[in-house]
Symmetry: C2
Subunit: 335 residues, 2 copies
């Protein structure tokens, strides 16, 4: 509430000196510096960041767009983002898009209106509108988890979903499974295509038939997992193993399978994806793919900041390492 001028008065210096004291303390005489700090203290002065932003053109904040705040996996990413941002003097603006394009549009606009300097997308599931595509040309941004397929290549931090699903599929075929079901979260995204492709490639190698009617689900949620399992159990051929495209889905699926009086993994093996924390506490604990969510968040910040600072991007696509976590929700197929 007190301004830089009051500090000037108290210290008997000009605004420039006060400003310098705050930004490059070593550019100013120790003696006066002390005096200024004292004055700042006394006045209870806090620089008005808005005012400085007008000058510098930097807001020192980043928007993060997330389609679904209830997903613990995204949250872990956000923790990484928040931490890295804070370490770099940036604050993070939360944009819960709920998957609605118009909310996404609004939040993206924050960068244009100077409220934020950059944009981090989590799992962007729909293509940009023409308007936004133009926007994306000049706005520092990065996408986490989902590469956006379009003319311009946005930088992206992601997993090798194809390989991860191959690992999962090999794990299951090695247990003797031959009849599979899949509960997906979206069926339009690149993630979906990569993962499905990975699974199919293994089944192909093993000479196992797979019918696309065994792919169900269109939302990353417990409910969708539950509904998906129900649908799969109602089919003519019951799968002995189900791929769930995230852990929430797997949790819902297992819940449903148990309701049908079946046992996991004895009757049906279930595998998830993401390795959210609770998956280790489920009964049975979930076999899943670990994604280094926290690190992905940190990397995302690194990449946007690089763009903001006009440093050349070393690479446009960063692949992070997955680990397959074998727990008790998957096992040998019962004979």
């Amino acid at each position: 509430m007190s301004t830089i001028k009051e500090v000037c008065q108290l210290a008997g210096v000009s605004t420039a000196t006060v400003s310098r004291t705050l930004k490059n303390p070593n550019m100013v005489n120790v003696k006066t510096r002390e005096r200024i700090f004292a004055a700042i203290e006394k006045a209870g002065y806090r620089p008005n960041v808005m005012a400085s932003s007008v000058k510098t053109g930097k807001s020192n904040s980043l928007v993060v767009l997330v389609p679904n705040l209830s997903n613990p996996f995204f949250l872990r990413i956000i923790q990484g983002i928040e931490k890295a941002a804070q370490e770099n003097g940036y604050s993070v603006l939360l944009g819960d898009t709920q998957g609605e394009p118009h909310r996404e549009h609004e939040y993206a606009g924050m960068v244009l209106s100077n409220r934020a300097d950059g944009l981090i997308h989590l799992d962007h599931s729909f293509p940009f509108s023409d308007n936004d595509a133009l926007l994306a040309e000049k706005v520092p941004m990065v996408s986490v988890c989902e590469r956006i397929v379009s003319d311009k290549q946005y930088p992206v931090i992601e997993l090798d979903n194809y390989s991860a699903c191959r690992a999962l599929a090999k794990h299951l075929t090695s247990y003797g499974h031959k009849r599979f079901g899949i509960i997906a979260g979206q069926n339009e995204s690149q993630i979906f295509r990569d993962r499905l492709g990975g699974i199919k490639s293994v089944l192909n190698e093993e000479g196992i038939d797979f019918d696309d009617s065994m792919v169900v689900g269109n939302e990353y949620s417990y409910e969708s997992g539950s509904a998906g399992a129900k649908a799969l159990l109602a089919g003519k051929v019951r799968p002995t193993a189900i791929f769930c495209f995230n852990d929430d889905i797997a949790i819902g699926a297992i819940h449903e399978i148990k309701k049908h009086g079946l046992k996991v993994p004895d009757d049906i093996s279930v595998v998830g994806f993401d390795n959210i924390k609770v998956s280790a506490y489920m009964d049975p604990p979930l076999t899943t793919i670990d994604q280094p969510a926290y690190e992905m968040g940190r990397k995302a910040v690194e990449v946007v900041l690089q763009q903001i600072r006009k440093k050349p991007l070393t690479r446009n696509r960063e692949i992070v390492q997955f680990r397959i976590i074998e727990r008790a929700s998957s096992g040998a197929v019962s004979s």
Copy 2:
């Protein structure tokens, strides 16, 4: 990137008129208004919010301070906050304090430096430092879930934790339980005192002894739930029912209890708190207290905005309704 001046040029008007067109469209002639909108479109003009903030002194954003982003309950609150904020033209700055006072301090400073207009605390667990107490005098703020006991009374949105725990305790005593354990999340907070008080009041009425050595745990986490259960099971008298002060703790506790070869609820009943979504999908599903997290978030925004807008607060303490959710993790004591 284009400024208001370019719009002026294109439309052949002054900056004042453009500014007015954006804020009070009806103050300006329909004809010129159209021309200006066209110019805005053409120039791709977006007002610089920083610049306007300098003038108005309002940033149109709120900071939310959260001690632990991994807690789904907090997330649900944040969803409510985000939505309400957005509806009111505010954006939300995320402050993950990790329970560290200095990070809290930093984020609180955002209000002083005009980066935010108000502050929402989630489950503030430590008292303000003297510096911050002074701060709190003049900053619009509200606390959710935890009332801060200090000289000044901050507005707070909270549950009647005392009554909620009475309901839980009555539920369990009605099942015949007499030996209880408690796994708490903190033991210094007002929440802790309220909840413990509620439980004890019921036990007292029922003539049941309760030893404080049966209170364990100091963190709202799976691990702490697991460790707490372990400790309780190792005691001389094994409890037949355990109160967990949130659902994460309960999940950890049940996991541990099962590892010991015991059954929930046959051997031990477990109740949680918060009713996070996954609790319905656990095996067994959790008996718990539902807190209307989303609504709490919305109310919090209402309250801060009221302060920001200098409207008198109707009341300083808002109590929201809880519901006891009886599921399968609690049952009759085995004889």
